[in-house]
């Protein structure tokens, strides 16, 4: 049974056809690279998978079941988590508070419930250790490096134990050393049986961690290949349109 599949997904905004019959599939423990130029339809596709808006046509299948998302909460409930490009972190809170933001661990005293900091620090530390990231739960996110911030954003997705993690340009704005850190984080997720969809502009990153690569151009998927059967040159050609399809 396939974990996640998009079948003939289309989306138009008025007269603009953003996506045309897009097919995409991914299994547990796989990393799929989604590449394409600006305006190719990557962001639209991500937003459909994350439940930000519905497709105009086509079907989404999850674990052998047809699903429809009304909003991001629906998608999250079904086991799809998103790491946003800007990471959606609050700089003025600690790493643990960010991981648990919106679903704080609580302890009850009569009619009142208070934040259970000890549990939050412990759990966050466990997630960071799992990700093998040297991130301190009690530190403010403001003081953290790009790689550590990614770890916080990724640890947040781990809370709900998702099947699929969508990552939008996680390596776009960080240093070379931190890129290696983030790629390691992606491998850890994969090793835990999570399917990762990596949207990226950076060819070396995609070839370093992905099992499959799908290339989009002008709202269509023009290629879907195992990483071993393609090359950076071919993918570049596909992105720019020098190569029609593969």
């Amino acid at each position: 049974m396939r974990l996640f599949e998009l079948r003939d997904i289309s989306r138009n905004f008025g007269a603009i056809q953003a996506l045309t019959k897009v097919n995409l599939k991914i299994d547990a423990g796989e990393v799929l690279g989604l590449m394409g130029d600006n305006g190719a339809g990557k962001s639209t596709l991500i937003k459909i998978m994350a439940g930000n808006f519905p497709p105009s046509g086509g079907e989404i299948w999850l674990k052998g079941e047809k699903v429809e998302f009304q909003n991001p909460k629906d998608a999250r409930k079904k086991g799809i988590e998103v790491v946003y490009q800007d990471l959606a972190l609050c700089d003025n809170l600690t790493a643990a508070e960010n991981v648990f933001l919106g679903r704080e661990a609580k302890i009850r005293f009569g009619p009142f419930s208070f934040i259970h900091y000890a549990a939050m620090f412990r759990e966050a530390a466990r997630h960071f250790a799992e990700l093998k990231s040297e991130t301190r739960p009690r530190d403010l996110v403001r003081q953290m490096s790009g790689g550590q911030r990614q770890a916080v954003a990724i640890a947040r997705t781990r809370l709900s134990n998702p099947d699929i993690v969508l990552m939008d340009e996680p390596t776009a704005a960080i240093s070379v050393r931190q890129v290696a850190e983030v790629l390691d984080l992606i491998r850890r997720l994969r090793d835990q049986g999570i399917a990762v969809i990596l949207i990226s502009h950076r060819m070396p990153d995609v070839f370093a961690v992905c099992d499959h690569v799908s290339v989009m151009r002008r709202g269509k998927v023009v290629a879907d290949k195992p990483i071993g059967q393609t090359s950076p040159e071919e993918v570049t050609g596909l992105i720019t349109g020098a190569i029609e399809t593969a």
Binding site: P72, K73, Y84, D86, L87, A88, L89, C90, D91, N92, L93, E97, L101, G102, R103, E104, K106, F112, S113, F114, I115, A124, A125, F128, A129, K132, S133, E134, T135, R136, P137, R138, D139, L140, R142, Q143, R156
Partner: protein
């Protein structure tokens, strides 16, 4: 490898002691103690029981307003209407009492009036996405004008059958402390716990830190924003009830200029006008510092009109200080 990571994850950048030393409320507390010691040496009146009683009672009103203001400012908002809401709520309380109703009806009238003002502010800001500065500036004018309309520009100083009880609430003492000060202490503790140890409190900071992120992670941003304006309104209502009781009369000019002193207290106490940081103890100690400075000037025989100059200087100094701290921590 994993042992090493667990060692790291159990540490933190700032130990508890260091966190205290770089916090603004700590240094404001130090400044307050220094001023008190100097004044104690210079004036033989400063450390008397009477003066302590007066100072704590005087600043309790601003302190209570500053607590609500702090919650608002942490969400990156501002509430310019608190002084005017004190005015209209005080008039509402006084009118209900004057009409012969019980003290509880009077208090309820004051608190409900203030909550209604907070509700209007909150709905316009949270759900219609209007700027807090503009909305509360509007309420600043509307609430003051309503106070004038309702009171028909008369002073109300007869509070019906429960007059004695009512004036004792605002003007009386408990354990030798002025009632308003006791209420400030209780509210400060409640705000400290709520901001630090409840999910609501964390959400208030999250909204001020990165509203977009808070929304994406499922924080009910609109409700959190509404809640802080309701709270700020409620604090104005409590202040109004206490103030009318203590003064024994309600006039429609009551609370004029309080919004600035409340904002000053929050900012001096370390609350960042850009949102995301600050705390209840800061509001408490910031308000205390302002009142002690005022009191010291009076005792030193300085013209009381200098108060504004000193308060203004302290606000700018406080903001300057937090800017330098911000530069150091990155």
């Amino acid at each position: 490898m994993s042992v090493a990571i667990e060692q790291v994850t159990s540490q933190r950048e700032r130990g508890p002691l260091r966190a205290i030393f770089i916090s603004q409320p700590f240094w404001v507390t130090v400044a307050l103690i220094v001023i008190c010691l100097v004044m104690g040496g210079v004036s033989n009146v400063f450390f008397t029981e009477d003066n302590f009683f007066n100072v704590t009672r005087n600043y309790a009103f601003i302190g209570i307003l500053a607590l609500g203001m702090t919650a608002v400012i942490i969400t990156k908002g501002i509430d310019l209407s608190v002084g005017s809401v004190v005015g209209v709520s005080g008039i509402a309380t006084a009118m209900v009492l004057y009409a012969g109703h019980s003290v509880w009806a009077g208090i309820a009238a004051g608190l409900l009036t203030s909550l209604a003002c907070g509700l209007v502010n909150g709905v316009l800001i949270a759900y219609l996405n209007l700027s807090s500065f503009i909305v509360t500036l509007g309420m600043y004018a509307v609430a003051r004008s309503l106070a004038q309309v309702l009171s028909e520009n008369h002073m109300i100083y007869q509070f019906g059958p429960d007059e004695k009880l009512f004036t004792r609430i605002g003007g009386g003492t408990t354990f030798g402390l002025a009632n308003p000060f006791i209420i400030l202490l209780v509210l400060t503790i409640i705000f400290m716990i709520a901001l630090r140890y409840t999910a609501w409190g964390r959400w208030v900071y999250a909204v001020g830190g990165n509203e977009h992120a808070a929304r994406l992670t499922g924080v009910p941003v609109n409700r959190v924003k509404l809640s802080v304006y309701l709270l700020s309104g409620l604090m104005s209502g409590i202040t109004a009830v206490l103030l009318v009781g203590w003064q024994g009369a309600a006039i429609n000019a009551m609370g004029t200029g309080y919004e600035l002193r409340a904002i000053a207290s929050s900012v001096i106490g370390g609350t960042d006008l850009m949102g995301g940081s600050g705390g209840a103890y800061g509001a408490f100690i910031g308000a205390a510092l302002i009142e002690v400075i005022r009191n010291s000037l009076l005792l030193a025989g300085v013209d009381a009109n200098w108060e504004g100059t000193f308060v203004g200087l302290f606000i700018v100094l406080a903001v300057l200080l937090s800017k330098f701290r911000g530069m150091r921590s990155g």
